[in-house]
Every structure is written in structure tokens, then in C-alpha cells.
């Protein structure tokens, strides 16, 4: 990808700055280099974006999804989990080819950029195709090959993940990171998990895994291993690799203590957990222990969109409602989960804030909408009132990927047509 060396956003409000103040926000290559009230020097020949009545917010981070499953969006809803998986999702997925995964991922990336998400964690297969889509489109991502250990090709999958790591980790101007993706306790025998942990340890790679999503998963694991999934993974030294654990709905106090001690990061997927009737993760207890929690949508078969602002709002609302404590997860904290904490959960250390020295992953939201009035408090307006579709301009790693709501380098009409055609072929 080519970069304009200098980009200057002017007249911009910044979500973390005092309300009503306007700034110049200067970007040098991929990094925010200046934030000032006066026109900074050195930007005389920069590309200029006039952000009048727009507010700059760190790009949202989706810490857990299966992007290509977008092809199955709206195909099967309102079903019991196992009926849904066995009779709908798995048979349809069996027909997925590499090109399907590419186009499904392209549709997801178009949706994420259009709704203000600049970084995502993906776990699926044919991940080379996903990496290709990420590389081409300019978005940022943490990729892991979903590893199911029960099938004859389990070792091949592990090799896939190793190749993915070697080919893509740190690549695309640093926009891609790679993790290992053991799917779940119920799809990975201990012997296989040991291999995964050994390989990740050897490469100094981190791990992304579904953990404690349903009560059934936890009770089955306890029955088989006499340990909760968290205890079991800890006993395998998985967490020493650095682990992103998706869901963590059903975790005990003892599990939470282990997670805090071992710095396990959590991908909280409130809407997917509600829709699949899995339950509600004890996020306030996690935050109290200092556990890093990011937000995720999960795949669009169980959400059914990739609107991370919706997850941010739901996280802020839901934990108040079920606890009876209206002070839990205030707007400011919810936004932090959706941005800085999400980036940290994925291992991106210089992403998630609008500060000098951070990577320039920035969304400009158009505030000329009724629900952005009156302007008493911008953070509250964003988290509790705005629409993700207010994202007007999206910058990732210093590059403008969307302007005035139009994706600059993606042929959305072709993407829509390909996704629609492939989605229908898979579900015939």
C-alpha cells in the first residue's frame, strides 16, 4: 500500500478532549505526530481533511469474530444451538471454498469500516485468504487459524497456523498479527492442546480461544477433567503464551483469580451471548480485578452484524440492568473497552487512543444528526445515542480508507453481489 506521508485533519473535535474545542490533528506516515490548537508546522503540503462538526474517536476494535461467516447472515436464526450448528451452520460451512472466505471477509471488512471498526480479531479457516483481504483493504487485524483437534487433519491445521504466523505475523506494515486458534475445550483434546501450546511457545505466539461460552461446556469439562476450562488451560501452561479468551460467560471466582494472575484477556460478546441464550459474562467482576476486557460481535450468524458501537452500548446498559447498579460500566469506560482495551487484548500496544505516538486509527463521526443534540456530553452521545453509521471518515494506520461515507478502495457493489451469490450457493 502507498502512504501519503502527511495528513492533517483540521477543525476537529476529539472525544478525549474537552467539549467544543477544535484541534489540528497531524499524522506522519502511520502515526499521530501532533495534536494542537494552532496550525502545526511541517504540514504545509499535507493532505487536508476539514472535519467541521465531526468528532475524532479512536477506531473501534472488534476482539472476536469469524468474518467470512457473514455469508450465512440471516440464514438461520432463532434456533437452539446444537440444532443450529448441526443442521444449518456446519452443513453450509462444509461447502465453503477459499474464494467464498475471501469474499465473505471482504463483505465483513466493508461493514466494519463503514461502522467505525478499524481492527478485528478473526478466527476461521483459509486464513491466508483473510490475510490477503486485510492486506488489500488496509484494515488492521489479529488472525488465528481455528484449530479443531478432533478431525484427522488436526495436525495439518496446526501447520496451517504455523505457516500463517510465519507468513503474516507483523506484516502488512505491522497491521497484521497472528495468534494460534485452538477452537474450544470441547473440540480440542488435551493431547492436541499440548501440541498447540508447545508450537505457540516455540514461536513466541499468543493464543485466541473460545472459553467458557456455555454452562454445558463448563460442566462437561469439569466432568471429564475435574477442572473448569480455565483451570484446565492453566494446567497446560496455555496462559503463559498470552491468551485472548472469547466469551468467558461462565467463570467462577477462582477462574477469575487465575485469569487476573495470568493476564488472560477477554473478548466480551454481549449480543451473541444473549442471542444464543448463553448468558451474560461477569464483566464488572473482571474489570474490578484489572482483567483486560475488549468487546466483540462474534460471527454474524449469531449477532447478526459487526456493529461494535452497538456492543459498546449494550455492554454499558446490560451490566447495569442485571446487577441493579446504574453506576456500572459508565459511558467513558465502555468506550475504553471498545478501543484501547480491545487493542491491548489483541496485542497492539500503540493503538486505541488519539494521542501523539499512537498509530493513526481514527474515525470521524458526523454529528449533524438529531441524536447528537443537544451537545451536553460527547462521550455520552457517542456511547448511548449515536449510530455506527455516523462514521464518515475512517483512517487506519495513517491511510484514509473511507471519506464522506464512501470506501475509497473497495468495490462494494462487486462485494455485495459476490457475497449474495455465494451465500445463496452455500445454503441451497
Amino acid at each position: 500500500m502507498t502512504y501519503l506521508s502527511k495528513l492533517l485533519i483540521k477543525n476537529v473535535e476529539i472525544i478525549s478532549a474537552p467539549d467544543n474545542e477544535k484541534y489540528f490533528l497531524g499524522i506522519d506516515n502511520d502515526t499521530i505526530s501532533v495534536i494542537s490548537k494552532e496550525m502545526p508546522t511541517g504540514f504545509e503540503n499535507a493532505e487536508i481533511i476539514n472535519a467541521s462538526d465531526k468528532i475524532a474517536v479512536p477506531g473501534l476494535v472488534n476482539t472476536h469474530t469469524h468474518a467470512a461467516m457473514t455469508l450465512l447472515r440471516s440464514y438461520a436464526d432463532d434456533m437452539v444451538l446444537m440444532d443450529w450448528l448441526q443442521n444449518k451452520i456446519w452443513p453450509a460451512e462444509a461447502g465453503l471454498n477459499d474464494e467464498d472466505i475471501y469474499w465473505g471477509t471482504m463483505l465483513s471488512i466493508a461493514e466494519m469500516l463503514k461502522t467505525g471498526t478499524t481492527c478485528f480479531a478473526d478466527m476461521y479457516f483459509a486464513m491466508d485468504k483473510v490475510a490477503q483481504a486485510v492486506n488489500e483493504t488496509g484494515i488492521r487485524a489479529s488472525l488465528s487459524r481455528g484449530l479443531v483437534g478432533l478431525t484427522p487433519d488436526a495436525d495439518e491445521k496446526l501447520q496451517d497456523n504455523e505457516m500463517l504466523f510465519k507468513n503474516w505475523h507483523g506484516k502488512a506494515d505491522g497491521r497484521i498479527r497472528v495468534m494460534f486458534g485452538p477452537h474450544a475445550p470441547y473440540t480440542c483434546p488435551v493431547s492436541y492442546l499440548k501440541k498447540v501450546v508447545a508450537k505457540a511457545g516455540e514461536l513466541n505466539a499468543e493464543i485466541h480461544m473460545h472459553l467458557c461460552e456455555t454452562a454445558g461446556e463448563v460442566s462437561d469439562c469439569v466432568k471429564e477433567h475435574n477442572m473448569t476450562p480455565i483451570k484446565l488451560m492453566n494446567s497446560l501452561d496455555m496462559f503463559d503464551c498470552g491468551t485472548l479468551a472469547a466469551h468467558c460467560v461462565h467463570v467462577s471466582e477462582a477462574d477469575l483469580d487465575i485469569m487476573a494472575d495470568k493476564k488472560v484477556r477477554v473478548a466480551h460478546n454481549p449480543q451473541s451471548n444473549l442471542k444464543l441464550a448463553s448468558g451474560i459474562a461477569p464483566v464488572p467482576a473482571m474489570l474490578k480485578r484489572g482483567i483486560i476486557v475488549g468487546l466483540g460481535t462474534d460471527g454474524t450468524s449469531s449477532n447478526n452484524n459487526l456493529d461494535l458501537l452497538e456492543e459498546c452500548r449494550l455492554a454499558a446498559m446490560l451490566h447495569k440492568g442485571i446487577s441493579g447498579d446504574p453506576l456500572l460500566i459508565p459511558a467513558q469506560e465502555a468506550l475504553k473497552l471498545a478501543t484501547k482495551q480491545g487493542a491491548s487484548a489483541l496485542g497492539f500496544t500503540d493503538v486505541g487512543e488519539i494521542e501523539v505516538g499512537q498509530k493513526a486509527d481514527i474515525v470521524l463521526y458526523d454529528m449533524q444528526k438529531p441524536y447528537w443534540y443537544p451537545r451536553h456530553d460527547r462521550v455520552s452521545l457517542l456511547v448511548y445515542a449515536a449510530s455506527a453509521t455516523d462514521a464518515d471518515t475512517v483512517i487506519v494506520n495513517g491511510k484514509v480508507l473511507m471519506k464522506n461515507g464512501e470506501l475509497l478502495e473497495m468495490d462494494v457493489e462487486k462485494i455485495y453481489a459476490e457475497a449474495n451469490m455465494r451465500g445463496h450457493r452455500l445454503t441451497r
Copy 2:
């Protein structure tokens, strides 16, 4: 208001029709007069809307809000209820004048139309100004004067409500209905409630009341009257008037039986109930009993927007998640709550479906968005994936109020400026 006598929407998909089929939808004055696959006769000189790649959905119905409170949106969030009311909301509301209420309501109506809501139930004060805004803008509404019986002017308020009924019930081409609005059990003594019920009975008017919103309200009522709020209101024969009960979060089995028997209709406000940490209403139990349930946003101080599609999605998700039953409130049913059941809850008998003979309250959603692909199931896409901002064209009572996302008869820039200025004056 003037009406075009004939309006024809062509090439349109209809949410209740089979996927992929295109229709002609003919409107005669305020009523849907024809739905057909062929060009209908009699529409040769009609105004034409070409709805290519758009889908017609009944306008959403917001069954409970306080529209002018929009002026306080984002002023005070993440607080405990009584601290919030006593130290923020009530002092600010004390400064509200009639013009504030007009402009706050205009901002709300702009937001509702832009997010696909064509009908709302409002309870506030200076309701003449609200009726004026409804009359001018062309939206449909059920209006009630909020009646607090503890203040010296309680009887005047009741007279206000009576005048509102006499001046506006059935007016504005039938778009306005008026109810009586006793605020809540804790703000209305029994002696006052008796007067309200008597007056409503005399005029054959219905009642809109906050009931069983918090556990504290219910326990206080039981302590004082040895009856739950539902039992108390039933003992006063309130339900014989026809009652729209907002919230009903804390209702017993016995309460639910009374509600079913007396045909009490419920305004379910899932997001407000979560944000204020009130809890979650037992909607599946209500639906099982055949109780009519509509959806509401409540005021934007406790929501913080008027996006009814968001409430529809949340209602569909939330009850699955907390019950463990993923089959509860499927997409089709959630949409019905947001449309037909909502209209019924407000007493509009010929509103809420796209059928010949129904009033023409129709929203055309633009499906050229990534989250509307692939098109496996339109209802699922709308309820679980779409954005309320996809509303492209809005028709109320046969009149086109919004086209291509632009409100045709509202000066939104003036509304934004007035609302912002007034909101800041109130909270100085």
C-alpha cells in the same frame, strides 16, 4: 395539511411478503388501497416513488416516551435514579417553558422520522405545544398530560388533560389520540387517581401510566395499600377505561393475570430499564397470556435515543439471554411488537401492517448496505442486522414526510440550533 390524492410505490419489496418479490403499493389519500404485482389501474396520474432495492416496513411505533426531554439528552448519565432526578433532571425541568417543549419535541420528531418511527406515545406537559408539533410535522401520536397529584395545581393539570382531549382527540386527520396521563402510583394519591378515572370514564378516554417500573415502587405501594400497583389500579377500576401501562418490570403472576383479564396493554422499554438498573420486564410471560405488548424508548435522558429498531433488537435478544431459551421472541414476533402490537397498544386500530385498508404509515429501508447481505431472510436482516438510519423514505397517513433521507417539511438546522441553545440554557 394537504394530501396528494394518489401515491404509487413501485418495484418495492414488502417485509411481510415472500423475499425477492416486487410489488406496486398504491395509496389513496391516507390509506393503502392496493398491493399488486401488476401496475394497478387508477394510478396513472399518481405521484410515483421508485423503491428499487428498498423494502417497505410498517412504520415503527414508540409506545412510551417524553419527547421534549430530548433537550436533556447526555446532560446526566450513569447516576443513581434519585440522585439523577433530584439533582439533575427535576431542577433542569423546572426551567422548561412552552417554547422549549415545542423545540424539544420537534427535535424528537425529526429523530423519530429519520429512524423509521411514524407513531409515538408521549406523556409530558405543555402538551398543546406537543400537539402543535405533531399536527405540523405530520407524524402520528397518542398524547397524554403527565398528571402528578401531589402538587397544589393537581386539579389544573387534570383540567389541562381534559382540554387536551377535547381539543385534539381524533384531530389532525385522525393522527392524534389523547389519553389521560396519571404519572405513577408514587406521585398520585388514591383520591386523585379516583378523579382521573372518573374524568376519563366520563369522556370515554383511555389512560397511560407508569406502572411497576422499579422494585421500590412496588414494595412501597404494597406497604401503603397492601396491594401491588396493578391490584390497586384494578381496585380503582382504572383498567376498565383501557390502560397503557409503561414498564411493568416488577409484576407478579397474579398481576399478570389481572392484566390479561383487563386487557391492560404494556409499553416495554428494555433499554431504559437496563440503563436505570430497574430490571427486565417478564415479556415472554405477558405474551404467553395474550397481553398486548408494544415497545418504547422512554425519554432520551434515560436511553439516550429514540431508535425503536434498537429496542426491537434488544427485546429479541435480551429475553433469550436471561431465560436461556434461544427460541423466545423470534425476529418476526419482535417486529410485530414494534409495529402492529404497538399501534394496538396506543388504540390505533388500522395502523401497523402493510395491508389494504390500513393507514399508510410506511418506511422504505435502503438495503444497499453491507449488513443487508446476503439476503437469506429480510425480517432477520431488519431485526438483527440493519441500522435505523437505513430509513430512506417515510410516509405517514399517506403523506411523504421524508425522501432520500431528507425531511421534506422540517427545517432540521433550525431545530438542531434551537434544541442545542435551549438544552444548554436549561442546564446552566
